[in-house]
Amino acid sequence: MIPAHRVVLGCVVACSAVSALVPARPAAALPGPGAGAVETGAVELIDRAREAAETQAFDGVVIVEWRDGRTQHSDQVPVHSAGGVLRFGDEVVGAGARRMIRSTDGWLSLWGHDVAALGPSPTAKYRLAVEPGPDVAARPTDLVLVQLVGVDRLRERLYIDRQSGLLLRREILDSRGEPYRSVAFTSITGGAGSPTGGEAAATANTAVITPTHSQDPAPARHLAAPYKLKGRIGTGYRLVGAYKARANVVQQFFSDGLHGLSVFEQPGHLGAAETSLAGKSGSGREVEISGHTMRAYSSSVGEAVVWESDGMVYTAVTDAPWIDLAGAVRDLPHADPPGRLRRVAQAVVSLFRWR
């Protein structure tokens, strides 16, 4: 069982204005055609950053900030990486293809197997550009600018440590160019190429962690009705894998090259208690997508939408911008509630009770 909240080292700052850690940059116009080399460079930087996080030794503090509606949220967590084990506080661990979080009596494995496919290249959907970036956590960076192909608005910024290749800051921007979701280092020591190099991790606790419980989704080999696979969803999201996440919950994981998007399906219908969905956090907000109303929620992990259709409950989760999520939700089923069929059946059955 995952505890409803986890104690984290460092201060928890709630409902405060976000102080800019990095001077805001004006939205830069991206280079025009002929920027192919730059694009390849950007993709390489991103790929290298992924690898760097898992292989290098470093220590730091990361701040996670997001805005939901009117409220700003901000939390910090220390990060430590050594010997291929990435630790966030003493709560979350990533090692190889395993992901674990601390549970009440040990470690719960969230993921436990490698995946074959990485997903599509981001260049199909995004235009990427690289320029010299500002300092983040006192380190010079390369700045990757992300916008949608054909749309003149900056969507995301990635700040990559020029020296170690680590992704030091990632921000997703709203329509005004303001970050509304970000993860960033406030301080960091170590990493490849730094004076302290690997020794920063000398104090590391690299003891092998074994999970006591497992919630590992299993690759689904067969999906019979009522589950249905979708190859593509929303704008540029392609199915990368489908898994049996719990007893009767199927997870389809999509990627557009930069963002992941999961769609969970579970037969049943939504209970009356909205708050049980989000625990103590609140009941979300009502949104309308494709003419149907459903509940949407915001969290540090991303946005989520929950609805039901024809005897199936859907939960879509992503850290991508809301418009991506809405586009995906639109492509999923929204049928009449099963109550309709039930009413027909009950009316019919009742006709024969008196016989």
Binding site: V8, E54, T71, V183, Q251, F253, L277, S299
Partner: protein, 154 residues
């Protein structure tokens, strides 16, 4: 009907009358006219052949069977209940409609999914999503958020 019109055939081209002709849906008079036209019009004969070929192709398709039982072996688990082996009904004609209806009513109750009430645990699903996303995406920015209290708000 214009005998010997342009192109040397009788009357206008048959178009969809050709299908009606094949399906024996033309009244006798129209049928005669069609035959007369076909005798003189190569274009229509060619089209007739095309359409007849398509018609033939569909008609010889075998019956496509379902891979799982439509009723009876109840996909929703429980004992079949009143649906079992075929038993002859005493006077089928007289009670056909009622018996049918009654049986279908029973079938409905079984066919309808018994919807359990579910409440997805958002924090749990979000963790699973983030774990997966951190494998193909950047592990730092995907895992850090689940290390902070995952509060779901408006």
């Amino acid at each position: 009907m214009i005998p010997g019109g342009p192109g040397g055939h009788i009357g206008e081209h048959l178009d969809d009358a050709l299908s009606a002709f094949l399906d024996d849906e033309l009244a006798p008079a129209a049928r005669h006219e069609a035959e007369a036209h076909l005798a003189t019009c190569a274009d229509c004969r060619a089209e007739l052949e095309e359409v007849a070929a398509a018609r033939r192709a569909i008609r010889i398709m075998p019956v496509h069977a379902a891979r799982r039982p439509l009723v009876g072996d109840d996909p929703f688990g429980a004992d079949a209940g009143p649906i079992g082996a075929i038993r002859p009904a005493p006077s089928r004609r007289r009670r056909a409609v009622w018996a049918l209806a009654a049986a279908v009513a029973a079938a409905i109750a079984l066919l309808l999914p018994r919807d359990p009430e579910v409440a997805p645990s958002l924090p749990s699903l979000a963790d699973t999503h983030a774990a997966r996303a951190s494998i193909t995406g950047d592990p730092l920015t995907q895992l850090a958020p689940i290390a902070v209290p995952v509060r779901f708000g408006p």
